[in-house]
Amino acid sequence: MTELLIASIMTMMTAATPLVFAATGELVAERSGVLNLGVEGMMLTGAVFGFAAVTLTGEPLIGLAAAIVMGALASMIFGVLTLSLLSNQVATGLALTIFGTGLSALVGLDYVGKTIEQIRAIHLPILTDLPIVGRLLFGHDPLVYVSIALLGATHWFLKHTRWGMILRAVGDSDQSAHAIGYPVIAIRYAAVAFGGAMAGLGGAYLSLVYTPLWAENMTAGRGWIALALVVFASWRPSRVLLGAVLFGGITILQLNAQAAGLGIPASFMSMLPYIATIVVLVLISRDSTRIRLNAPACLGKPFRAER
């Protein structure tokens, strides 16, 4: 029984990792006031370019680097359109999703059916062999640890550094930040690029570690779950990990329930992440105070300097 529990938690952590990457990036972007709905497209872009890079060079690190760069570039398309040309953020984000999906499918045509060396789980000599905690703490693949580290770094950055505070200020009141003299547009560009890079990394995790394959549309909606996750976490990094494990784990739980013979309908369990998000949205929108305390006030509004 403990063996099954440990194994399930391990699998849930790997399922959560792409969500942690994408949600962390999107959280930073949204905290700066930019609503980038193109997460799915950026994840797929990262996945295909990461996979292509590894197929061509054989080096996982180059693959990850390629994914980060291409994810950031994809988000820059969104950035230019919404931050410099002031287009509607929601529509542009959706367009980026569709664009990313199509572009990745086109680029990936040559790579369907190819396979690569998977990035393997680590194995530390004594630590991993400890009973119970050994594998749970020390037996994941490196990117799981990277995702948690990045999440922690983002939390620390937003809460305890000056530039983190400035980024939050830009998201909560862009006119005031501009009046004080901070470069609002530049900060938002940086945040969007970070969001794109992380989404790309999340996508690369899928195609390099999760299944060493490329298949069209392989993110299968995880980008949307990451967006829901940011809301579920009330734009706070501390709740992202919990939400990611829950949301990512729902699929694993549902499969486990099936394999164990329990009769819960699969569709019901797939609905749960979205129901949870709606519940959270309702709760945090209960009164205007709560809304103000949670969502970045300028989320989704284009910034036009008033002087």
């Binding site: 099954l4 194994a7 399930s8 699998t11 399922a15 569709i98 999906t101 199509g102 499918a105 086109l106 045509l109 790579y111 369907v112 059916g113 190819k114 396979t115 998977q118 393997r120 899928l206 999760y210 299944t211 060493p212 394959l213 298949a215 069209e216 549309n217 392989m218 299968a220 699929t251 694993i252 499969l255 486990n256 099936q258 394999a259 164990a260 013979g261 009769g263 309908p265 699969a266």
Partner: protein
Amino acid sequence: MIKLTAIALASALALTTGTASADKLKVGFIYLGPPGDHGWTYAHDQGRLALEKELGDQVQTTYVENVPEGPDSERAIAKLAETGHELIFTTSFGYMEPTLKVAKRFPNVKFEHATGYQRSDNVSTYVARFYEGRYVQGVIAGKVSKSNTVGYIASFPIPEVVRGINAFLLGAHSVNPDIKLKVVWVYTWFDPPKEADAAKVLMDQGADIITQHTDSTAALQAAAERGVHAFGQASDMIHFAPKTQLTANVNNWGPYYVARAKAVLDGTWSSSDTWDGMAEGMVVMAPFTNMTADVAELAAKTAESIRTGALHPFAGPISNQAGEVVVPAGAVADDGMLAGMNFYVEGVDDKLPQ
């Protein structure tokens, strides 16, 4: 995805209409996934290539990949029919209604629908007796498994999939009555991360052999990562799991495609229902690997007996989960029961979704 099929369709049509080949028979193929899935669609594409090789001077083939089942497929099929294709193969169960609809609009075009059960004057159906291969897989699993638990990744609860599960279990029980089958329904034919998830979950729950009724190599690879044996599906996937694939159910569509194209060329084509198996060479087992010699020998003997008809996977006595005898001793399940199979045989550890 719509974009891609549109691009693919446009370029395919450009290619076909560009060449001056009014005498060549145009044959179209609608694929559910990409030929690169190295599974279901790959096998169909191999069949298409065999057709081109055999009748290349008389036949010209086109294919459209990644066509989702449902209303969009009607558009794709109709496009092929509109552009001079006289024989169209639609290679997935979910294309059934769209194929029939388009067939009504184009009575001079001949359609071949794979794994379906509805026909009309210009629609034939064809399917392979995959369950024969599943029986052999079950025999191997019964001998190779140490934990006596086999993980089965199933796609949709249609008779074809249920047949496969039943045949597998019957084969396994014929050599090892203690084998248990854990079934997980993923409700997709092709979704590599989900298939990998399903494989991981089954292994977490103690399965030491994985088999699948989905189209990609992801589950096989997830199993290989943990050193767990698995079976390839629809094509030989040994390249993806050289140390752990036991064998694969290989679908050999080439000879059927050649025969049907010839029938159209001769003018002898008529709507038919073809259900061929090992005997006719439509189902072939990939080489038996990663097992001991005696198991390989047993597997080969079983396959041979099925091929010659000496052994029928669904030979009685067979009881269903409720304990009722559905096939009495001495008889075999007839094609009607097989085609509409919607019950589990005794011993499957799962409730069949309705």
